[in-house]
């Protein structure tokens, strides 16, 4: 199977199934609004916690959208066909993860100025926050896909998916949140940026292999 064919197919599924892409993003803004309304009125507290809240919401939104990563294709049998017929099932899985990232992580990067604005983060932190998200969100999609592959066989895998995947997201949260807050404090967040990139690279080494193995287990191949 050709790489571009695989990619085009996943891309079309993403575009035509708009709800699966838009609903998590709406959830994200809803969560931001609830935090902003619930926090004290002074602006400085919001800027203080903004980084942590931003990353926490990104983590949870990603988890929500991961639940539907393989579900539809699993239910209608496409996934099994892909795993059986693809020359390299690993490649098919990797393409699925990349497209999922385009629909969530990359979309969050594009929307991050808006998120920064709502969370009261200063304008000087906007570019770095977007870069931090760009470096960190691939790790979320790559590691989260393993959990999605393991729980795709259960009718209600959502909570279990969170239980399996959220502990693995912890390093991303640590460096992401500390990156945003050091940028808010006027200190360069380059160190955290490189760490996030490193974590994403490690996730790229583990994620696709473990996801392929997990899908084979769930499909009982």
């Amino acid at each position: 199977m050709n790489l571009s064919v695989l990619f085009l197919r996943e891309w079309r599924v993403l575009i035509r199934n708009r709800a699966a892409m838009i609903n998590p993003i709406v959830f994200m803004f809803l969560a931001v609004m609830l935090f902003a309304v619930g926090s004290p009125l002074q602006d400085n507290t919001r800027a203080l916690y903004g980084g942590a809240v931003l990353w926490l919401i990104v983590l949870l939104t990603n988890m929500l959208s991961l639940d539907s990563l393989f579900r539809r294709d699993f239910d209608n049998g496409t996934l099994e066909q892909m795993m059986v017929t693809a020359d390299l099932p690993l490649l098919a899985v990797l393409v699925k993860i990349v497209v999922q990232w385009l629909g969530t992580g990359f979309l969050m990067v594009l929307l991050s100025p808006l998120l920064c604005l709502f969370l009261g983060l200063p304008g000087s932190a906007i570019v770095k926050t977007a870069l931090l998200l760009l470096a960190g969100t691939p790790a979320l999609s790559l590691l989260g896909a393993v959990g999605a592959a393991m729980t795709v066989g259960f009718a209600r895998g959502g909570v279990l998916l969170g239980l399996l995947v959220l502990p693995l997201f912890l390093p991303v949260l640590v460096f992401g949140a500390s990156g945003v807050s050091s940028e808010v404090a006027g200190i360069s967040a380059n160190a955290q940026l490189y760490w996030l990139a490193f974590i994403s690279m490690v996730a790229l080494l583990i994620g696709p292999f473990a996801t392929t193995a997990g899908l084979k287990i769930s499909l009982q191949l």
């Binding site: 393993v146 729980t151 399996l164 912890l170 390093p171 287990i217």
Partner: protein, 258 residues
């Protein structure tokens, strides 16, 4: 060549739960006796005879429970990851039994490490709970354990359950160092590890020797507990086979009598 042959045979035999059950009987006794001796002498030595700390006074003595529990809890998780690898590559049934046995013991020890850490933190840090680097990584360890436990509960098919939990255990094991260092380098309140393999201990010998005895004792206790659980699980899984029936009812039953 002879050694290689012996090892290969041993490897094949290890795949058989029945053989493992028969060979492991003496281990349970041996590990149990060693654990009892080491933990018993270590706790008396540490609590009663070791000198008080010049800063922390007597409160440091909870270290003799806290450090062994935390160390062994991590080791048990890593051995679970190794068992996962063995199961995944060689499809060895005993490895799945080992994972099932490691889970409850690991959860218990991690909880003990967190609890004793809280009790120790109260007099020294002035707080029961602090989101300190190593506290967080131990808490994450607990969540990783619980995640695998929940996954095993959710899957009914035994073959699938074995492979799924093996895979998650492996992924978790690869992530442990990343999680550990990421939270360690974040703001940390915890004192650095008192005993490492590469450096001389910062404590006098009267203080770290009982700790060493406790750590060794805890490892033997882990061996004792996990192998006992494995043996029970083997009996449960193989309860339909003839060798288990012969084990439970040694005399052949006479049909139709009485």
């Amino acid at each position: 060549m002879a050694l290689k042959q012996t090892l290969k045979e041993l490897w094949h035999k290890l795949g058989s739960p029945r053989w493992f059950y028969q060979i492991s009987g003496p281990w349970v006794t041996g590990f149990g006796v060693l654990a009892l001796l080491l933990l018993g002498s270590g706790i008396v030595w540490g609590l009663a005879f070791a000198p008080p700390d010049y800063q922390q006074g007597n409160s440091f003595r909870i270290m003799y429970v806290h450090v062994p529990a935390a160390m062994v809890a991590q080791s048990v998780y890593i051995s679970m990851g190794i068992a996962g690898l063995v199961l995944f590559v060689w499809r060895m049934k005993v490895a799945d039994i080992a994972i099932a046995a490691c889970l409850p013991f690991g959860i218990m020890l991690t909880a003990l490490a967190l609890f004793s850490g809280g009790v120790w933190g109260r007099p020294t840090w002035g707080t029961w709970w602090e989101w300190d680097g190593r506290t967080v990584s131990t808490l994450v360890l607990l969540f990783l354990y619980i995640g695998i436990f929940a996954l095993r509960e959710a899957i009914l098919d035994s073959q699938m359950r074995a492979r799924a939990s093996a895979l998650v255990a492996m992924v978790g094991t690869i992530n442990i160092p990343i999680i550990k260092y990421s939270v360690d380098w974040w703001h940390t309140l915890h004192q650095p590890a008192s005993i490492t393999l590469t450096e001389k201990p910062t404590m006098p010998a009267e203080m770290w020797l009982p700790l060493l005895v406790m750590v060794l004792g805890m490892y033997f206790f882990a061996g004792h507990n996990i192998i006992t659980r494995m043996r029970l699980e083997i009996l449960r899984r193989e309860s339909g086979t003839r060798w288990v029936r012969n084990l439970v009812l040694p005399e052949p039953t006479v049909k139709g009598s009485g």
